[in-house]
């Protein structure tokens, strides 16, 4: 069986390579002509009933001449790519390239095609992904959407190059859309010249390795009051650079569950029609834990990507001016990153989340130990789980017995939310939400 999978993996590598090559090399008209060659080639064999073989030779020779003409492109270029530091999954990333014509002739009608680093998975990753999909897919449900190319890292637009005289440097505006978080590596670029018929591109390659960190996609979160009250923090005033509880009054804010009644500002309540409390500078402040479950089925799990996006959405939305946010997860080891109140910024959490990978080295108990060791410091916990099985239910139960308020989010693969809901209701904490891949925004809108 493994031999068969190895063979299929080879087929996958060959086909994906061919597709990548075809989309870069052929123009849209060229792709249409290529399709025409295939169709004419198939039907042309029956020359008793049709004469499409006459068109086959014409189309085939069009492509052959176009391919031959690509051998006669000898231009040389140098390039500097001006990339931003970060990009975001799904958001177009605009940047520019300074391209210099190193030939003695002016160059016109050119285009720039980016060369992405080979992002095809290893055999084991590919196999894990395929097996996980097969387990999930239902027979004869061909309308279930399967991601067409889950391993693709980015879509790029072919950018046209303005006319460049000899030794002239021109600016090329480019755009690519990242599809996966993490570092996006660019090997170089190719300056493309279409053939006279406009079917096939000849390449002059420029080695230009660079990378840009792609942050997770963020979703808008409704204004949510996270669970938990202020707690004494040992870091004390050193951490309390902005907000806390001391004799020095700082500001007014909305009442949160657990705030002492004596801090209620009655006149503001009367004016605003809702409870408002006074804030003081002190070593008492709110500290939340954002726990990310990294125990995904495989390294390209869609649920894991969405979980990272949800965690990033929380990291962006929680007012780290007013509180601390601890990001806890298990990778090759246990990690706890703290942001807020001058310790670190939310952007740094996003960078960390951009690089989080599924954990295969440790079991779930590692995350459990990490959180329980940390739980005494935090006011409340936000769990982003990938499943709602017994170990996770037990873990949540333990945290609840410690009296820590919780918000539990379970990210389910598309179409599997109902199975998560089928868990016994007694195990559910008061704030429990199931978020389905593909409907994350709607799911998060229910958090209010």
């Amino acid at each position: 069986m493994r031999l068969l999978f190895k063979f299929l993996y080879r087929v996958y590598r060959f086909m994906s390579g061919l597709r990548y090559w075809g989309y870069r090399r052929f123009t849209r008209a060229g792709l249409i002509v290529l399709c025409g060659v295939f169709i004419a080639g198939i039907f042309g064999t029956d020359s008793d009933n049709n004469v499409i073989y006459q068109g086959f030779t014409f189309l085939l020779l069009l492509l052959v001449l176009a391919l031959c003409s690509s051998l006669f492109f000898r231009a040389r270029f140098s390039a500097i790519r001006h990339l931003p530091r970060f990009g975001t999954v799904g958001a177009p990333l605009a940047y520019s390239i300074a391209l210099k014509n190193l030939t003695s002739k002016p160059q016109t009608g050119l285009a720039v095609v980016e060369s992405l680093a080979d992002a095809r998975p290893s055999f084991q990753d590919w196999l894990d992904f395929q097996l996980a999909y097969e387990q999930r897919a239902r027979s004869f449900r061909y309308t279930q959407g399967k991601r067409s190319n889950p391993f693709r890292t980015a879509n790029f637009k072919i950018a046209s190059v303005p006319p460049a005289l000899s030794d002239q440097e021109v600016r090329v505006e480019c755009e690519l859309t990242p599809l996966r978080r993490g570092p996006l590596r660019l090997d170089g670029l190719a300056v493309a010249r279409p053939d006279p018929l406009g079917l096939f591109r000849a390449f002059a390659r420029v080695a230009l390795p660079q990378s840009v960190l792609i942050l997770p996609k963020r979703y808008p979160l409704p204004p949510i009051a996270l669970p938990g009250s202020m707690k004494y923090q040992q870091g004390g005033v050193a951490l309390a650079s902005s907000v806390g509880q001391s004799d020095e009054f700082i500001a007014l804010r909305d009442y949160r569950q657990g705030d002492p009644l004596r801090h209620i500002h009655w006149r503001s309540w009367a004016r605003a029609g809702k409870p408002v409390v006074k804030e003081f500078e002190d070593e008492f402040f709110v500290r939340h834990a954002l726990v990310l479950d990294t125990y995904a089925e495989h390294s390209h799990s869609e649920a894991f990507e969405e979980a990272a996006s949800i965690a990033a959405s929380f990291a962006c939305t929680i007012q780290t001016q007013e509180s601390l946010l601890d990001l806890l997860f298990v990778g090759t080891q246990s990690y706890c990153f703290t942001a807020g109140r001058g310790v670190a910024h939310g952007e740094q959490l996003l960078e960390i989340l951009a690089s989080v990978r599924p954990c295969k080295e440790h079991d779930f108990s590692r995350l459990e130990r990490l959180v329980l060791n940390h739980i005494s410091k935090v006011s409340g916990c936000v769990f982003v789980f990938l499943d709602w099985d017994k170990p996770r239910r037990d873990f949540v139960g333990k945290v609840r017995t410690l009296g820590v308020p919780l918000l539990v989010l379970v990210v389910a693969e598309a179409g599997r939310a109902k199975r998560v809901n089928a868990a016994p209701p007694a195990d559910r904490p008061e704030r429990f939400f199931v978020i389905e891949c593909g409907k994350v925004e709607e799911g998060l809108a229910l958090l209010e």
Partner: protein, 696 residues
């Protein structure tokens, strides 16, 4: 991607030219290209387009069924199941191929509606979920769950339709180069907007010319290569052709082992006004017998054209023809021999392009796939040529057996009538009819098949009997010929049907006294009853289906008047559709008009206040655009002609506003008050002279 001007129109005209639908092609092309001139557009929602797409798919399905019937698909497949074998397998393949080709040829016509809808809609492209079942299902599921609709790609139908036109234009077997040149021109036309601006026009033209020249020789090379491959095994190619009689030769099954396969498929229908049909319908006649095969000793070049006396009447032989029989038969491939009664003189109501005949009485017809005609026949001379020496030739290998039988029957010296009686008796009493032949393991197995039949086995099918009778009569000096065709014996209501298994062979005997050919059927009459035993329930069902397909084929090949009625019946429907499309369609929108021209029935639209407003406008006190009515009244109240009614005007405006915007409306009393106030104001304004316009 937008197509260059006139490209789609030219592609459709080219398709029409290549496939014989020139007029429809030109009309469709003009309809699409007219969108560049006609500015009117119709809004089609995604659901509308999906319905049109479904209509096109339904039409494709209907066309496939129709083409399958028209190309004798059911019959061929029935043959395949009744008599599985190499021939029936290839017959089914051939029908499938022809069906496919027919549908492919019609595709531009079928999908024209869809392209037309997009062309005359304001859309530049169509979402993919309109045509994709899977994407549509996902969209529906998302809607049902309240999830956001999945992003669907869009596409412009123009280029796919262009490709479809070119492809469909190629679906014909005419071996000339018109398709090649048209294909090159249209493809170059389509590639024109995509050429690289880096290169000069001359280079583009030169490259294209080089491709055209190379591909011209290339396609000729491919054509020759395919012919070469085909010639390597002509039998393989020939197997695709439908089994039918060859006017030049007839290979018999004499000497064949196993069961002679026969098919119950109905291939001819016969109507005889007299109530008695001819017993046999002949298709071809042969003269020389060599090695199990009968030869006519004529070629296809010996067929002479029969000129029609009017559009549908063909005079074959000038003689009195008192009897009439109506024959309906399929013409596979549009060209075949006609089954005709002996002594036929004239064919009437025959919708044929060409009719030829050969000296042996075979009539070849070229025309539609089904013909229904009247054959007028009578006794006496026929169009067969008189007997010649070749009608007396004998197979050398069978001479000893022939001499033995002639001696045994004392045939030598008998008159023609006596000889026929003797032979008839000989075959009916001492021979049996059989379509099953076992391996001969006796000492006679090295003898020729005909000799074995005459002397030892004495069992065979009609070809044995006809051949044996022909050569025995020749042995005693009577010229004979071997005729093939069909026996008519099975009634079907008032009419008769002829099945494939009714294919028969018999002998023509030259009557030197009357200088005419007589038919002699030496096969024992039992063969008819033996075949009739094979009729089953399945047979009856398939006969019913054959009847349906026959009626469809009659319609398809213009052998009925239904088409005329349909055409006449469609006129009022078309007129109604025309009226609906151009005069009743509410969603018609002219892109020239920026504003919405729908009449709106607002509440309070009949308020008398508007009359007053118009009257004041006539007096030069018109309201400025976007000026609120209350401000307008304030502005004009200073004018002397309005000063008298300004109090009433304010009250009137309050009532008017309530009438227009209050959900409860006005009571009957207030409504009357509004009317009376407006009336009195109007009267007062009438009394005043036309004032000076108020400066703005």
């Amino acid at each position: 991607m937008k197509t260059p001007p006139l490209l789609i129109g030219a592609a459709l005209a080219f398709w029409g030219w290549q496939t014989g639908f020139l007029i429809p092609g030109i009309i469709m092309g003009l309809s699409l290209e007219a969108a560049r001139i006609v500015r009117a557009r119709w809004e089609f929602s995604d659901d509308d387009l999906h319905r049109i797409w479904n209509l096109c798919l339904g039409a494709t399905f209907a066309a496939a069924i129709y083409a399958f019937n028209a190309n004798e698909g059911p019959a061929e497949f029935r043959d395949l199941f009744h008599n599985p074998g190499f021939m029936s397998q290839h017959g089914a393949q051939f029908a499938t191929a022809r069906t496919t080709m027919s549908v492919l040829r019609w595709l531009p016509m079928i999908f024209f509606c869809f392209v037309l809808a997009q062309t005359y809609s304001p859309r530049a492209s169509v979402p993919l979920h309109v045509i994709s079942f899977i994407l549509r299902h996902r969209l529906k599921t998302a809607r049902k769950l309240g999830a956001p609709a999945p992003v669907s790609r869009t596409f412009n139908t123009a280029y796919p339709f262009f490709g479809l036109c070119l492809f469909s234009a190629s679906v014909h077997s005419t071996d000339d180069t018109t398709f090649f040149w048209g294909f090159c021109v249209l493809t170059a036309w389509a590639l024109w907007p995509h050429r690289s601006p880096r290169f000069a026009l001359a280079l583009w033209t030169a490259v294209l010319a080089l491709v055209v020249v190379l591909s011209y020789f290339g396609q000729r090379g491919i054509g020759q290569f395919q012919s070469y491959l085909g010639n390597l095994n002509p039998q393989w190619l020939g197997a695709f052709a439908r089994r039918r009689f060859d006017p030049t030769q007839s290979q018999t099954e004499i000497g064949t082992l196993g069961r002679i396969k026969t098919s119950p498929r109905i291939i001819i229908r016969v109507e005889a006004p007299s109530g008695v049909p001819p017993r046999r319908l002949r298709e071809a006649t042969y003269r020389a017998f060599k090695n199990r095969t009968w030869y006519s000793e004529f070629t296809e070049n010996d067929f002479s054209r029969v000129s029609e006396t009017n559009d549908t009447t063909f005079q074959l032989f000038d003689k009195p023809v008192p009897e009439t029989v109506r024959i309906s038969c399929y013409v596979p491939g549009g060209k075949a021999l006609l089954p005709l009664p002996r002594g036929v003189g004239r064919l009437e109501n025959l919708l044929a392009y060409n009719v030829w005949k050969n000296p042996l009485g075979a009539v070849l017809e070229e025309g539609p796939g089904l013909v229904v005609f009247d054959a007028l026949y009578g006794p006496g001379p026929s169009m067969d040529s008189p007997a010649e020496d070749v009608d007396l030739t004998l197979p050398e290998r069978d001479m000893p057996a022939l001499e033995q039988v002639v001696d045994e029957l004392h045939l030598q010296g008998q008159t023609i009538d006596q000889a026929l009686q003797t032979l008839s008796r000989f075959f009916s009493t001492q021979f049996t009819y059989s379509t099953w032949f076992e391996q001969d393991r006796s000492s006679h197995r090295s003898e020729p098949p005909l000799t074995r039949f005459l002397l030892h086995t004495r069992s065979g099918h009609c070809e044995y009997f006809a051949t044996a009778a022909a050569v025995l009569l020749r042995k005693i000096g009577i010229p004979t010929r071997y005729a093939v065709g069909y026996a008519v014996h099975e009634g079907d209501g008032k009419n008769w049907v002829v099945r494939q298994r009714d294919g028969h062979a018999w002998t023509l005997v030259w009557d030197d006294r009357h200088k005419t050919w007589r038919e002699f059927d030496p096969t024992p009459a039992a063969w008819v009853s033996m075949d009739a035993r094979q009729i089953t329930l399945m047979q009856r069902i398939s006969d019913l289906w054959a009847r349906v397909t026959f009626e469809i084929s009659k319609f398809r090949w213009g052998q009925s008047h239904v088409r005329d009625y349909l055409l006449l019946g469609s006129v009022p429907i078309l007129l109604l559709l025309f009226y609906q499309v151009f005069f009743r369609r509410r969603r018609r929108r002219s892109i020239q008009r920026g504003t919405n021209s729908r009449s709106i029935d607002w509440p309070g639209f009949d308020s008398e206040f508007y009359q007053l407003e118009r009257k004041l406008a006539v007096l030069g006190l018109s309201r400025h655009p976007s000026e609120p009515v209350s401000m307008w009244i304030e502005r004009i109240s200073e004018h002397e002609s309005v000063s008298e009614i300004q109090g009433s005007l304010r009250e009137l405006l309050a009532l008017h506003y309530r009438y227009r915007f209050d959900p409860l409306g006005l009571s009957a009393a207030d409504r009357r008050k509004l009317q009376s106030l407006a009336g009195s104001c109007l009267e007062k304004l009438e009394e005043r002279s036309v004032p000076e316009p108020v400066s703005r």
